[in-house]
């Protein structure tokens, strides 16, 4: 087992394309680090550099304190689980799992024992003599896991291992992988584009965009204190509502369209940098669960509500997702569009504000009677508002 450290690791392809830019990451023993980002963010390239399948253009990769930049994959003692599982089709499950041990000339009895143990751990005991073609997607995924853990590697690398499974199986395997990873206690890199996977599995999550590390932290950190607009828009489902807003000259109010929200002292103390934005434009972020149907509780204090027109109500059983239109300018940036999967990226300036009405989502109690066409009054959890600089896209904190 070992820690893995990436120090300013970059990947530049011969055509000049920079897939990963000066990536700094530190993964300790037993930690599950999730690399998450949209397509083209460089997460898989970073993983492949750790595996040794891709040359490192610059920077240093350390495993257990040793520089391994020039070591061949087989000498790094890493085990990788691929998106397509990459099982050897001509070998049985047992042969697949034990193949790497056979190559290391481990005695046959020991191979048999280790394969049996791994199969038991993964619930594959009855399938050891089958070929991969005779297994379901979930079983193949488990074989791929078995192949990785039986080697007792220093580092686990997983490249979107659940993306070929159906939704139900994905949820099941998500917890199984977490369980197995905790049990074997090996430093693990887990690549995914699914932020739900990232949030539920990662001890820490590294968010990448266009080859650059945006933020690294615990899932809760990323959710509650996103460093920039990209992370704010990417982490969370449904995504954070982002509106153009104006801080009042006195600094104790923020105006979203024609509506005004008061900024409590606690919020301003937690974000001292907000004082520098008096009478200036900002981007306000409101998580969908920070909007509450005001009709369900006591009358909200003044300056803590937003009016919006309900367009659609989705009942999920435990909550309602209310899609609404609000009189405010929407926020469009390359970062937010990439984060939310908006397709049109070309020609969008760093930050563009505009439009009279903006869409938003609220997650509210199923007891609410709101329906499409209603004029809703949402109480806003003011302490949980997020603020971003419209020019740099960075969060306004200290």
């Amino acid at each position: 087992m070992a820690t893995v450290t990436l120090e300013k690791v970059s990947k530049v392809y011969p055509n000049g394309f920079e897939a990963v830019k000066e990536l700094d990451l530190d993964v300790s023993e037993g930690e599950l680090m999730v690399l998450v980002g949209p397509s083209g963010s460089g997460k898989t390239t970073a993983l492949r550099m750790v595996a040794g399948l891709e040359e490192i253009s610059s920077g240093t990769l350390l495993m257990g304190g040793k520089v391994v930049n020039d070591l061949a994959p087989k000498d790094r003692n890493v085990a990788m689980v691929f998106q397509s599982y990459a099982l050897y089709p001509h070998m049985t499950v047992a042969e697949n799992i034990g193949f790497s041990l056979k190559l290391r000339k481990v005695p046959k009895d020991e191979i048999k024992r280790k394969v049996k143990d791994a199969a038991q751990l993964l619930g594959l005991g009855d399938y050891l003599d089958r070929k991969p073609a005779q297994l379901s997607g979930g079983q193949r995924q488990r074989v791929a896991m078995g192949r990785a853990i039986v080697r007792e590697p220093s580092v686990f690398l997983m490249d979107e291992p659940l993306s070929n499974l159906d939704a139900k199986m994905r949820v099941q395997m998500r917890s199984e992988i977490s369980r197995i990873q905790r049990r074997v206690g090996v430093a693990t890199f887990y690549v995914t584009h699914d932020q739900v996977e990232a949030m539920t599995m990662g001890d820490r999550v590294a968010v990448l965009h266009l080859g650059e590390l945006q933020q690294v932290g615990t899932p809760q950190d990323l959710y509650e204190r996103p460093d920039n607009l990209f992370v704010a828009a990417f982490i969370g489902s449904p995504a954070m509502n982002l509106f153009e807003a104006m801080i009042s000259p006195t600094g104790d109010e923020v105006k979203i369209g024609a509506q005004t929200l008061g900024l409590p002292d606690t919020l301003r103390q937690a974000r001292p940098a907000l004082a520098g934005y008096r009478d200036r434009k900002v981007v306000v972020g409101i998580r969908p669960e920070s909007l509450i149907d005001a009709a369900l509780g006591a009358a909200p204090p003044p300056g803590a509500t937003l009016l919006a027109d309900v367009e659609l109500v989705e009942a999920l059983g435990n909550e309602l997702q209310v899609h609404f239109l609000i009189e405010a300018s929407a926020v469009h940036s390359k970062a937010t569009e990439a984060a939310t999967g908006a397709e049109e990226l070309g020609g969008v300036p760093v930050l563009q504000m505009g439009g009279n009405k903006t869409e938003g989502v609220a997650r509210i109690s199923p007891r609410s009677l709101l329906k499409a066409g209603d004029r809703a009054v949402f109480q806003v959890e003011l302490d949980r508002l997020h603020f971003f600089d419209p020019d740099t896209g960075l969060a306004i904190w200290n």
Partner: protein, 303 residues
């Protein structure tokens, strides 16, 4: 084996070809009838195919029928005898020639398989300096007609005393067959997921051992295709054998038949008997391995 396990095995769907029609003539006839009933416009297509089959099968019928006649029976068009078969075996060392053909075929195919399977892997899965130029050269070799190089080849082989030796003919056949076989193998290896090779590399294999332990075992169907195609081509070839194997002791069966038909008087029934013997191995190989042939020839189509 228990009844239960038998039942399970019988009920198990054919995973390789889940929609494959049942084998045998009746099921095929049923398929044709069903198709015609469903789509009467397909009748002309089936008629055309029927005529084409007749054209293909006629020579075989002609060979079989006339090999069972003596020269006089052949000329009169009636009666049957085995005289031509007895005469054929007395004129020609048929066994020896068949053995020569088998030897030349086996050795040539072995060389072709060895070179094409490894070269195809290198072109498909590795990147190396000069790869593009080398690949174009291999493809270029496929386009050179045999007839245009056979004389210089003969002269060169004569210089190194390889005329009238098995080795000479084997090298020529291997040289002619390898470019296409390499192309075919490369197409197959390109279909293998990149991740499979990378998984092997992570497991501790080098590229060479990945070839031996992962790629080659998976390439069995492609290797079978190459072997069958080359077998039919080499077994049926006359020109190379005629030039490079002229001694009566090392002639192949096609060269032997060529000699038989080059006399002043040509006995058609004996020639037909010889042709039948010569054609039979290729036909059998084709019928047994036709699944591989179709699979091999459509490699890369569904991608």
């Amino acid at each position: 084996m228990s009844v239960g396990s038998l039942a399970t095995k019988d009920n198990r769907p054919d995973r390789r070809r889940p929609h494959a029609p049942k084998r045998g003539v009746p099921s095929r006839a049923r398929f044709v009838l069903r198709r015609i009933r469903k789509d009467p416009a397909s009748i002309p297509i089936f008629l055309a195919l029927l005529v084409a089959s007749g054209v293909m099968l006629y020579p075989f019928g002609f060979m079989l029928l006339n090999s069972l006649r003596s020269q006089s029976q052949y000329l009169s068009g009636s009666g049957f005898s085995t005289a031509s078969w007895s005469a054929l075996f007395s004129y020609l060392p048929v066994g020896r020639e068949l053995l020569n053909s088998a030897l030349v075929c086996a050795a040539s195919i072995a060389i072709i398989l060895a070179v094409s399977s490894s070269a195809g892997f290198a072109f498909a899965k590795l990147s190396f300096r000069g790869q593009g130029a080398l690949f174009v050269t291999v493809i270029g070799c496929m386009m050179v007609p045999l007839q245009s190089i056979i004389i210089p080849e003969y002269v060169n082989f004569a210089h190194v005393h390889l005329i009238n030796t098995y080795l000479g003919a084997i090298l020529v056949y291997a040289g002619l067959g390898t470019p296409f076989a390499t192309f075919l193998m490369m197409t197959f290896y390109r279909g293998l997921p990149e991740e499979l090779v990378e998984a092997a590399v992570c497991d501790g294999l080098g590229y060479e051992s990945t070839f031996w332990r992962v790629a080659l075992p998976l390439a069995k169907p492609a290797l079978a295709t190459v072997a069958v195609l080359q077998f039919i081509q080499i077994w049926d070839d006359l020109l190379v054998g005629l030039l490079f194997l002229q001694e009566p002791t090392n002639r192949t069966i096609t060269v032997g038949l060529g000699v038989l038909s080059s006399g002043r008087v040509v006995a058609i029934p004996e020639l037909m008997a010889g042709s039948l013997i010569s054609a039979l191995p290729a036909v059998i190989v084709y019928l047994v391995f036709q699944r591989y042939l179709v699979a091999g020839l459509t490699l890369g189509v569904n991608r």
